[in-house]
């Protein structure tokens, strides 16, 4: 008798894999972008299954909310020609398929052989507090570096999109 966990897992797995395949295989970039959004949502569902609710929220906010939208914007900005053929395969598709399959086979073999020394226990009482402690404790350097990284990325993105503008005559 399948428990509810398993049902949700398989549903979400099907959603994630199916929409990911759609992202890769569809030839319309707008469709790809929409399925990408769906994949992100599916992954957020998986996080909930894994008791990472905060992460799921962040996933929805940043990935589904920001990144996917950003990508759609970019798609619209650079649209040209026939949209139905805007996302074609490259000449490398078949070798890429071979490489991907071999890589998957390797990881699958590795996962199949692995005896994980795991145990399932209840998650921490207050995951958010625990996260916050980590961010400002053990990973505070990473946290600060991330802040600078975001700043640099914003500065850079604005710079590059604006293009050349002479500041001095």
């Amino acid at each position: 008798m399948p428990d509810s966990q398993a049902v949700f897992f398989w549903l979400l797995a099907a959603l994630v894999i199916g929409s990911a395949l759609a992202v890769v295989l569809l030839k319309n970039i707008v469709h790809s972008a929409l399925y990408l959004f769906l994949t992100f949502v599916g992954v957020a569902g998986l996080y909930i299954l894994l008791h990472a609710e905060f992460l799921a929220a962040v996933q929805l906010l940043i990935y589904a909310g920001a990144i996917a939208v950003l990508i759609v914007f970019a798609v619209m900005l650079v649209r040209r020609g026939d949209i139905r053929l805007s996302n074609l395969y490259s000449i490398h598709f078949l070798p890429a398929l071979v490489v991907s399959l071999v890589l998957f086979a390797l990881v699958a073999v590795a996962v199949g052989r692995q005896l994980w020394l795991g145990y399932l226990a209840p998650p921490p009482e207050e995951p958010l507090v625990s996260l916050a402690r980590n961010f400002l404790g053990e990973y505070v350097i990473a946290f600060e570096v991330a802040a600078i990284l975001l700043l640099s990325a914003i500065v850079g993105a604005v710079l590059i999109v604006r293009g050349r503008r002479r500041s001095a005559p």
């Binding site: 000449i91 071999v102 890589l103």
Partner: protein
């Protein structure tokens, strides 16, 4: 050893010219006179110290077995690597110091006159100083590493000076050729002492000398010795790497005298002497050394017969004489080799400088366009003849004694073939030198050329070198008690026994050579032309130097270029084409061929991930994880 005065100051000998180099290059570059003065002053003081060192070596009984060594650690990695910077002062280095500083001093004085009108006057003196410093450092080095360091540095100076007139295409090309050939040889030398280091964990000459006789893996040692020997083959222009030296004559003549005749090319012979314990313990390697030397001697001497360029004749003569020295090393007489090195340095420098005096006056190097110069250039003629007599081995000139010792050593150590060969070379040497003299200095004046004697600043060095060419040999005659052979030796000091048969024979063949030269070229005759016509093939062979250069060029063009082209093609078409090709074949679409060009980032990414997959498969297979 408490009251030594000069020897503890030996480190100044290379340092002074070394300081002169940047001083001239950066400060006195614009002031030509000051540049020359700085260089000459530096080498002059070095000469004085060298004299002091030699005097103290003799006076204080410092022998080959009992040298003075100063050393400091230059670079150390515990238990692995220790490189010293140090000085080794024994009779061998003391003699070399004197030779180098003396010749360099005289050549620099001479250069004032010779380079008078050259715009690169100061730079020339800077280079000469740098060369002097490197050569002196090489002589004083107490370990392989340091000798290699200076070995490369003299190579660099040689390159710079050959190409001194770099705006002339031949000069630039000759410099490049010397560089490439020497790199090849130096690479072998480097490997050789690398091997020695791996076996013995030291670069130091004395430590190696103590360790080598006790080592019994002859095979490995033989490889090391042969590799070390490639260094001298390159630097001392032995067959088959002699090709760079004649071309090096594109440099200014004082450079030819100092570097490509008297000192740097002798560095190979000096290295053989320094590494002698290594060679002496390997009879087979000694045979190789002896025969390479002997063959080079006769090979170069025959080529010299047919050349027309005054400097090229002297260049081939240098190769031939270097062959003599190497042969002396090979037949087991380090004494004879170094003795010949010393006397040769004086008379060959003299010959080159005298030839330079001729070139300076005439701006012409083809001997067949000269003639009758003795009327205008008395000093030059006389000194040149003295040098030639010394080179030809006519007693009592310096060359006679040293050459005689080599021949005697070959004869007495059982190398009868090499002895005969050496005697033959003596004959050829006398012949081509006097062919040169009769054509250049005697006979009739050729039209359009008017010689004039060079200024005293050039002729005085000639005179000093002429005196040395006459008298320097007396330190090592068989009649000198406690002579050169008890001073510079390997294993044990010994007195040379006079062998009148060898002496008489070599004198006779030398005289015969001179006579033949006179008979062919000393009197008006068309005999040489007729000989040339009837033996056209032989003449062509000699004139074209046995086609060695052409052979190398062919190898270079065919094989080396071919390889480079192949690699290039491979990169462009195979590596890049591979992945594009895979996609192309699967799509079977000829239209897509234009995508075969690279610059495609996905090709790069695909290579990246394919590499990851291949590595994973390989490692998994190695770890037995996939069955």
């Amino acid at each position: 050893m408490a009251n030594l005065y000069w020897i503890p100051k030996a480190w100044l000998i290379p340092l002074l010219p070394a300081l002169a180099f940047p001083f001239i290059a950066f400060i006195t570059r614009k002031a030509r006179g000051l540049s020359a003065l700085t260089a000459i002053l530096a080498i002059g003081v070095s000469l004085v110290i060298s004299l002091g060192v030699l005097w103290e070596v003799i006076a204080h009984g410092i022998t080959m077995d009992n040298p003075v060594e100063y050393s400091t650690v230059w670079l150390q990695i515990p238990q692995l690597l220790k490189i010293e910077a140090g000085l080794l002062i024994d009779p061998l280095s003391a003699v070399m110091l004197l030779v180098v500083t003396l010749v360099a001093f005289l050549v620099e004085i001479y250069s004032i006159g010779y380079m008078e009108d050259d715009p690169g006057f100061s730079v020339f003196f800077a280079y000469l100083s740098l060369f002097g410093a490197s050569m002196l450092g090489l002589v004083l080095a107490n370990n392989y590493f340091m000798i290699y360091f200076f070995w490369e540095l003299v190579g660099l100076c040689s390159y710079l000076l050959i190409g001194f007139w770099y705006h002339r295409a031949e000069a630039a090309r000759a410099g490049f050729k010397a560089f490439v050939v020497n790199r090849l040889a130096d690479f072998g030398f480097l490997l050789g002492f690398f091997f020695l280091f791996i076996i013995f964990h030291t670069f130091n000459f004395r430590e190696l000398a103590a360790a080598i006789p006790a080592y019994h893996n002859v095979g490995l040692l033989t490889v090391a010795a042969l590799l070390v020997f490639t260094g001298p083959i390159g630097k001392s222009a032995q067959f088959p790497l002699h090709v760079w030296l004649p071309d090096a004559m594109e440099g200014p003549t004082p450079v030819s005298a100092l570097i490509h005749a008297a000192t740097m090319v002798a560095a190979g012979v000096y290295l053989l002497a320094r590494a002698y314990v290594l060679f002496a313990s390997l009879p087979n390697v000694m045979l190789v050394v002896a025969y390479v030397g002997g063959f080079t001697a006769i090979f170069a001497a025959t080529i010299a017969i047919a050349q027309r360029d005054i400097k090229r004749i002297l260049a081939y003569s240098t190769i031939s004489q270097l062959g003599y020295m190497v042969m002396a090393m090979g037949v087991g007489s380090m004494t004879a080799g170094i003795f010949h090195l010393t006397t040769h340095a004086f008379f060959k420098a003299l010959l080159f400088l005298a030839a330079g005096s001729v070139i300076h006056a005439l701006h012409e190097q083809d001997i067949f366009r000269m003639g009758g110069l003795y009327k205008d250039m008395k000093v030059t003629t006389v000194t040149f003849i003295i040098g030639a007599l010394a080179l030809a081995g006519i007693p009592p000139f310096a060359g006679f004694w040293s050459k005689d010792e080599i021949l005697a050593a070959a004869y007495h150590n059982g190398f009868l073939g090499l002895y005969i060969l050496g005697t033959l070379v003596a004959f050829l040497t006398a012949f081509y030198m006097f062919r040169l003299i009769f054509i250049t200095f005697f006979g009739e004046r050729r039209a359009g050329l008017h010689g004039h004697e060079s200024p005293p600043v050039m002729t005085i060095p000639l005179g000093i070198l002429a005196l040395l060419s006459i008298f320097a040999g007396f330190v090592g005659t068989p009649f000198t008690a406690r002579g050169f052979s008890t001073f510079v030796y390997y294993a044990a000091p010994h007195e040379v026994e006079p062998d009148y048969m060898v002496m008489a024979l070599s004198t006779l063949v030398a005289l015969a050579g001179i006579a033949l030269a006179w008979w062919l070229y000393g009197r008006p005759s068309d005999l040489p032309e007729r000989l040339k016509e009837s033996y056209r093939w032989a003449y062509n062979l000699l004139w074209n130097k046995f086609y060695i250069d052409e052979f190398y060029l062919w190898i270079y063009r065919r094989i080396f270029w071919g390889l480079a082209e192949a690699f290039h093609w491979h990169d462009r078409h195979v590596v890049d084409g591979l992945w594009d090709g895979v996609g192309d074949v699967t799509r079977a679409s000829g239209q897509k061929l234009r995508y075969l060009q690279t610059g495609n980032l996905q090709t790069y990414a695909l290579v990246f991930f394919t590499a990851v997959v291949v590595i994973a498969l390989w490692m998994a297979g190695m770890g037995g994880m996939i069955r």
